[in-house]
């Protein structure tokens, strides 16, 4: 015998809004659909209703009734995210989950005795999990979708309709809950039939003859018949989407990051429900003026940590500011199975791929992406041979560590760019060297040796190098640049220092 649980929200659009913006939980809020000033209110919170604002009013009318009401634009993505969250909660108990058009979620909980002691316990756990994700869902359990839905709706919180008591439960409810067509409802009212039980007691053939197809449907539902026990399982989407629409523009990074953090928290909580990790995050920014920007952020490895994703998004936004106020934000996390890391028993473990990606993103935001990487020796005869390449964790090394004794080598501290020098000669030999921040009489020197090349390019070099020890205690590598490199049309060759031995 089928048993179905239903998760139902009294007003899903408002609940979805409060889920992404909890600060509006106690406020008078209305959700408006359409472009201002013709936008029409689609939902109004209880405080708004108390003040006299009703769905169907325009936003201008609502503000005229009560100027303190917060009118938020309708965002179907926010609504869809809330419904998907309910579905994810339901899917923690079984794979057969259906999401109805209005966001109501059904779960096939037949055989759930293996998971919970009773159907009431199952319903209570479902309600608690939904509440943890910001959705105060009502949960009903019954033998059909209709019974479960009505149990959730009329039960007030958690309500289980036992199989034997289903007819009695339905009989006491008003026919309006079956959403009859207007003509059918009028006919039934004229007959004095207002309860489902009264409708179920009518002879089927005669009632269908008089009320038409809609009457036949109502009668079938009232008697608990039809295909109401069949679920159409949803295909779980491979992305977790969270979105928010703002009624104001955010033009500074810090407030925007608060919103990002909240959406990431929700997305990661949903990933945890599904036991998945984020392989790629698409951040779509809706700019004031209608334009949208989409940025794709790929962590070093699939992750389900808010902190890591937040650092990556923050670093990305700091490096590439949107340039206009943000009125909407959408995060789409591409899901994948988390990959466990196999550590090496005999070699030092570097940082995890996720931690490394997060660190590199932070460093790039701090210093600029071009100033973070691994040093690279360029294959060139030009003395300044240092470049920077993207840093990636090297593959595990094979072989034993090199523990042989070594002789230290003289290191050079490069000057970038080379420092301009004033050089004084005496008797054909270098006598005094003065640069910015250093200088002195030449104590000893080695050189010159000539280095030249790339004469076939627009940037040739032709230099005479010296190693000099100065009276200031420094050991410097200096050179006299060629005429073309010096760029002096007067025939003067520049003296430069490109490093200090240390």
């Amino acid at each position: 015998m089928a048993r179905i649980a239903c998760l139902w929200m009294p007003d899903l659009s408002l609940a979805a809004l409060v889920r992404t913006r909890p600060e509006l939980g106690d406020a008078a809020v209305a959700i408006a659909e359409g472009r201002a000033p013709q936008s029409v209110l689609r939902a109004v919170s209880s405080r708004g209703r108390t003040a006299g604002v009703r769905p169907g009013m325009t936003a201008a009318q609502a503000r005229a009734v009560w100027d303190a009401i917060v009118v938020v634009p309708y965002d179907p993505e926010t609504l869809r995210a809330a419904a998907e969250t309910l579905a994810d909660v339901a899917a923690t108990f079984g794979p057969r989950v259906e999401v109805d058009g209005d966001g109501t979620v059904f779960l096939d909980c037949e055989g759930s005795a293996a998971l919970c002691a009773s159907e009431r316990e199952l319903a209570t756990v479902l309600a608690a999990r939904a509440a943890r994700h910001g959705l105060a869902a009502r949960v009903g359990v019954g033998g059909s979708k209709l019974a479960a839905r009505l149990a959730a709706r009329e039960g007030g919180g958690v309500h289980v309709v036992a199989a034997a008591a289903e007819a009695a439960f339905l009989a006491a409810l008003p026919i309006a809950l079956l959403t009859p067509a207007a003509e059918t409802a009028e006919a039934l009212a004229s007959w004095g039939i207002g309860r489902i039980g009264q409708l179920a007691a009518l002879p089927a053939g005669a009632a269908a003859h008089r009320l038409g197809p809609d009457g036949a449907r109502l009668l079938r539902q009232a008697r608990g018949g039809g295909d109401d026990t069949l679920l159409v399982p949803r295909a779980a989407p491979d992305t977790v989407v969270e979105a928010i629409a703002l009624e104001y523009g955010v033009d500074r990074l810090e407030p925007l990051l608060f919103v990002v953090r909240r959406l990431l928290d929700q997305a990661v909580a949903r990933l945890a429900l599904r036991g998945l990790a984020c392989a790629e995050l698409a951040v779509t920014l809706e700019l004031d003026g209608g334009a949208t920007l989409t940025r794709r952020i790929v962590p070093g490895a699939p992750t389900a940590e808010t902190k890591t994703l937040f650092v990556l998004v923050r670093a990305h936004l700091e490096q590439h500011p949107p340039g206009a106020a943000i009125v909407g934000l959408r995060l789409a996390a591409l899901t994948t199975r988390p990959r466990p890391t196999q550590l090496d028993l005999y070699r030092p473990n570097g940082p995890s791929a996720v931690a490394l990606a997060s660190t590199l993103a932070r460093l790039a935001a701090l210093c600029g992406p071009e100033r973070v990487g691994r040093p690279l020796r360029v294959d060139s005869h030009r003395p300044e041979t240092t470049a920077v390449a993207a840093f990636t964790a090297p593959p595990p090394a094979s072989g034993a560590p090199d523990t042989a004794a070594v002789q230290p080598r003289i290191a050079l501290r490069a000057f970038r760019p080379p420092a301009d020098l004033e050089v004084f000669e005496s008797g054909g030999r270098l006598a005094y060297v003065r640069g910015r921040g250093f200088g002195g009489r030449v104590v000893r020197l080695a050189g010159p040796w000539r280095v030249c090349g790339e004469w076939w390019t627009s940037d040739p070099y032709d230099r005479e190098y010296y190693d000099v020890e100065l009276t200031d205690g420094g050991l410097y590598r200096i050179y006299r640049a060629g005429l073309r490199e010096s760029g002096d049309g007067g025939g003067r060759r520049r003296w430069l220092a490109d490093g200090m031995y240390d």
Partner: protein, 228 residues
């Protein structure tokens, strides 16, 4: 042997026992990364200490960068990762590679200020996987007054992640937070060949252990290291 010299010898032996010097209980010595230079390892008590801050100070051209490269080489030779925080953009790939450093295992970060350099060091330490974080604070722009809280965070992060943190500077900048302070002093510069065709041959430096908070004092707190 006189009674006095015997007492002095006994006292010296006693001071070599870890923990006796300050009346503390003997504590576990931190793990070390052998540098591959015997004299230096002897001075450091086995190698560069992990989970502690080591300071290298000295005048320009004294040999501080050579010592730092020796540490980089030691770490990368053990297939571990090292980070070089270089705000003055002074790393020379050619010389560093010639010193035996595996550049593919070095993360090179070039912040624009010394303050950012310390922030970058903290980010790298937080990654928890680098065996060595080298911060080059030599030259101008070193913050005169780095708040003690910054050094405390750095040393705690280094201790938590068992990372050897090395700060290179002209003088003491880390204060009490440095577990080791090595002062490098250049002794001799040798130019090979006749004056007309001389080449820079070798530089000899003395490394003094000016401070150690890791166990017993070393009997000979200075070594001489030649480099070519």
């Amino acid at each position: 042997m006189s009674r006095g010299s015997a007492d002095a010898s006994a006292l010296r032996d006693l001071l070599l026992v870890p923990g006796i010097l300050r009346g503390l209980a003997a504590r576990e010595s931190p793990a070390r990364i052998p540098t591959g230079v015997d004299a230096l390892d002897a001075l450091l008590g086995g190698g560069l200490p992990r989970g502690a801050l080591t300071e290298i100070v000295g005048r320009p051209s004294a040999g501080r960068t050579t010592l730092a490269c020796t540490f980089l080489r030691a770490v990368t030779a053990h297939h571990a990762l090292a980070a070089c925080i270089d705000p003055h953009d002074t790393l020379d790939a050619s010389h560093t590679e010639s010193a035996g450093v595996d550049l593919s295992r070095v993360l090179w970060v070039r912040p624009r200020t010394a303050r950012d350099a310390l922030r970058a060091a903290l980010h790298v330490l937080d990654a928890d996987g680098f065996a060595l974080v080298l911060v080059d604070l030599d030259g101008a722009g070193v913050p005169g007054v780095v708040p003690a809280s910054v050094w405390m965070r750095l040393t705690r992060a280094a201790l938590r992640t068992r990372t050897a943190m090395v700060v290179l500077a002209r003088e003491n900048v880390a204060g009490t937070f440095a577990a080791l302070r090595l002062e490098v002093e250049r002794r001799q510069v040798v130019f090979d060949g006749p004056p007309s065709h001389a080449l820079l041959g070798a530089v000899t430096s003395a490394i003094h252990l000016r401070k150690s908070k890791l166990g017993a004092p070393v009997p000979h707190p200075a070594v001489t290291v030649a480099r070519s």
